[in-house]
């Protein structure tokens, strides 16, 4: 038993052929199906009780009052109110996506420093909180 434990924990990347954990089927599969049924129930519930309105037909001459983007664009939308527009756009569309995509390739570099990973995770956690805060400001209509 000791053997099994050790080989599992040192594998680092257990390809799912080890002995630890539970078999995918049926143990894990049943849980996944339950969650799927629950989520499907939630969207059916929402779609039934709160159907999407059709809205007014598009009219280029009639600007509706208080237009706001969808919630997932609200962070960027609100940020652009506080920083110079071109700087905010360059950050959001040119700098941020590649940094977000490629940072794991520098893992060995930044973990050489004692608190490297902790610092990165803290920065991102603060970034997430700021993003939520900005989106809330946008939702409430702060200028």
């Amino acid at each position: 038993m000791d053997n099994i434990k050790t080989s599992h924990s040192t594998a680092g990347q257990d390809h799912g052929h080890g002995e630890g954990g539970v078999p995918f089927f049926p143990d894990h599969f049943v849980k996944e199906m339950s969650v799927m049924a629950l989520i499907f129930g939630v969207v059916l519930f929402l779609a039934t009780l709160m159907p999407m309105p059709v809205g007014e037909p598009a009219d280029a001459l009639k600007t509706p009052p208080g237009i706001k983007p969808e919630w997932y664009f609200m962070t960027v939308y609100q940020m652009l109110k506080y920083v110079p527009k071109s700087a905010g756009l360059v950050f959001s569309f040119v700098i941020f996506p590649p940094v977000m995509m490629l940072f794991p390739f520098f893992y060995n570099w930044y973990t050489k420093y004692r608190y490297g990973r902790l610092i990165l995770h803290t920065i991102v956690a603060l970034g997430v909180l700021t993003a939520i805060f900005l989106a809330m400001l946008a939702y409430l209509g702060f200028e």
Binding site: Q13, V22, F25, G55, A58, L89, V90, L102, H121
Partner: protein
């Protein structure tokens, strides 16, 4: 009597072994409910694919007909209200879930080597999901659609140097027209579904090959 189908597939594709390996692969003990967001995102994608195809049977992507075809879906098509509302709600849920999945992966440090490439495909999938949302928003051609697209494309147009070209490319001209609707429709129902499906396959194959990351 024996079921011939299984033997037929087994002789040709080694189906029993493949199925057995998949069914018996171990899910580590540290997997908890936080690990469900990725799977829920996938479920959302399947719901979107099915409801999306059914909506596409009736939707008409021209500025003249789009709004009327939405009215037809809502008023005359059997279960039309349900289909369209499911599609819209699930779109929002999918973006929420892909975000939560990404945060879970990040704070568990599951992006670390050797899983960098899976993180890269994940980030691409995230941006594609958001683009799905943006492109789908225009299709009903109601006031919200029109003005969200106008504001969105103007924001993209504010980028230094290339902004104007991006805006012209997005709109297919200077302002929202049939050209805009056609390309948003093409992006929403052809380009994104194909590319997202391919990346999704890569994403899943990598997870299968590398297994679930150990906790930090």
């Amino acid at each position: 009597m024996k079921l011939g189908v299984v033997d037929f597939l087994d002789e040709r594709f080694d189906a029993r072994r493949v199925a057995k390996e998949f069914a018996e692969h171990r899910v580590p003990d540290h997997v908890n409910w936080l690990y469900c967001f990725g799977g829920i995102t996938f479920l959302c994608f399947i719901i979107q694919a099915i409801t999306g195809v059914l909506l596409a049977f009736y939707y008409q992507p021209t500025t003249d007909a789009a709004y009327r075809s939405i009215l037809m879906i809502m008023d005359d098509m059997p279960f039309g209200v349900m289909l369209r509302s499911l599609h819209a709600w699930t779109a929002n849920l999918m973006i929420l879930m892909v975000t939560l999945h990404m945060l879970r992966v990040f704070f568990h440090g599951a992006y670390r080597p050797p899983r960098e490439l899976n993180w890269v495909t994940g980030v691409l999938l995230f941006f594609m999901t958001v683009t799905f949302g943006f492109s789908g928003y225009l299709l009903p051609m109601n006031q919200l659609s029109f003005w969200a697209t106008k504001v969105g494309s103007e924001i993209a147009g504010g980028l230094p140097l290339v902004g104007h070209y991006i805006q012209a490319f997005l709109l297919g001209g200077e302002k929202i027209s049939d050209a805009t609707l056609s390309r948003f429709y093409a992006i929403h129902v052809i380009i994104l579904p194909i590319t997202l499906t391919m990346l999704l396959v890569a994403h899943f194959l990598m997870v299968r090959k590398q297994g679930i990351a150990d906790p930090l």
